[in-house]
Amino acid sequence: MDDSLLGLLSFGPNGWGDQLAAGLKITILLALATAPIGLVGGFLLALARRSDHTVLRVSATGFTTVFKGLPELITLFMVYYGFSMALAWFVGLFSDAYVEISAFFAGMVALGAVSASFASEVFMAALSGIARGQYEAAGALGLGRWATLRKVVIPQLVRLALPGLGNLWLVLLKDTALVSVIALPDLLRQTSVAVGATKEPFFFYLVAIGIYFVMSLVSMTILSLLEKRYGRAYVR
């Protein structure tokens, strides 16, 4: 048996490689599952904040102010305990079964709400970067509201919003680590389990940080390629 530190990372019964890989998978899955919520939610929030409908505008602005201002960790706790209590109350009306929401779901909802709030800022700025003449021209061509949005606004929006959204993806990737606090077996949680068993905190947390670092670097590379791809029409 390999007793060295690197041996602790091996796959199989003697190392923690499998556990860390399983945790990494959950971290990536959580980030990938949350990103669309932030994307779509942020876009809808931005539209609501720009709308003429007072109730819609005020509530969307309030939502963003709250979730941008609160620490992500308290948002997570409030969603986790709040939803659990609400669900327990609801189920308690019919039976005395014990229910609890999953940490993965709570993470998706909480981080989704936070990402959507920040994404709405990005979309607001991007939307104001699209000249009014574009809407007028689309109207002159007889395009309806939906067609204007889909064929004229969104294609230009992607390029304007991409840098901001890329940053949000990097933030989201890091924020998934918070969900380990409510016992989701993500990368950081699995690392803590390994630390508990091996008493090698420095080594294992350094490995975890290294893995997060690589994920960030890979994301940054992909994002800069995407930015080049969507900006190619504007290169002079």
Partner: protein, 241 residues
């Protein structure tokens, strides 16, 4: 009839204590982080290849990984070498989770602040350097008297944003048994299972963040008033709009 909710009557003082711990964590780490951040920024902008690469790595590492993981590394990692720390007389310092959180937060915010400072310096038009050189000012004097005052104004807004980010990020300290605002809240919740304590804590966080944001708006408006060409009623641009 009592207008103070019973949960606040019981835990209000604890929450306020936690609030003060949060304030200490944030302001001490931001202050130390500013010093370290300035050094990292100097490294990142230096012409030395090695310093440049080291500073780049430092910034990318601390900005690219979760603060919670960094905190665990310092808190549990320091404990692993307690013998060594005891030998050099540092153990009483590192044993306290508050100090560990402070170290982790300082190193983390230094990386962000280094980028804030660099952005400020780079935002100053290069003509300012050239103009100063033409006037015969040395590089040092140019930097201190011409570039720095302008860079500070450009960096003001992102610096304020960084303080707000730290207020929010500081909540992770509660995970390593620091009784900051969230730590006290979790304690009160586990005592009572009263969900409303979270609402009071959330309100305190929001008040802090909104206050900072508004103070920064005022600061920025005051400090940049000599630059404000759109100032009503007789700014030259405002007239033509």
């Amino acid at each position: 009839m009592n207008i103070v909710p019973d949960i606040l009557a019981r835990y209000g003082d604890d929450l306020l204590d936690g609030f003060l711990v949060t304030l200490q964590l944030v302001f001490i780490s931001v202050a130390f982080g500013a010093v370290l951040g300035a050094l990292v920024c100097a490294g990142r902008m230096s012409t030395s290849r090695i310093l440049n690469a080291l500073a780049w790595f430092y910034i990318a590492l601390f900005r690219g990984t979760p603060l919670l993981a960094q905190l665990f590394l310092f808190y549990y990692g320091a404990g692993q070498f307690s013998g060594f720390w005891r030998d050099i007389g540092m153990w009483t310092l590192l044993r306290d989770p508050f100090n560990c959180a402070l170290i982790a937060f300082t190193l983390n915010t230094a990386a962000y602040q280094a980028e804030v400072f660099r952005g400020g310096v780079l935002a100053v038009p290069s003509g300012q350097w050239e103009g100063s050189a033409a006037l015969g000012l040395s590089k040092r004097i140019t930097f201190l008297r011409v570039i720095l005052p302008q860079a500070a104004l450009y960096a003001l807004r992102p610096f304020g944003n960084e303080i707000i980010l730290m207020v929010k990020a500081s909540a992770v300290a509660s995970v390593v048994t620091v009784y900051d605002l969230l730590g006290e809240t979790r304690l009160a919740y586990s005592d009572t299972f009263r969900f409303d304590v979270y609402f009071y804590a959330a309100a305190l966080y929001l008040i802090l963040v909104e206050t900072l944001r508004r103070v920064w708006d005022v600061l920025e408006r005051r400090l940049t008033r000599h630059l404000d060409m759109r100032r009503k009623p007789d700014g030259p641009i405002a007239q033509h709009e």
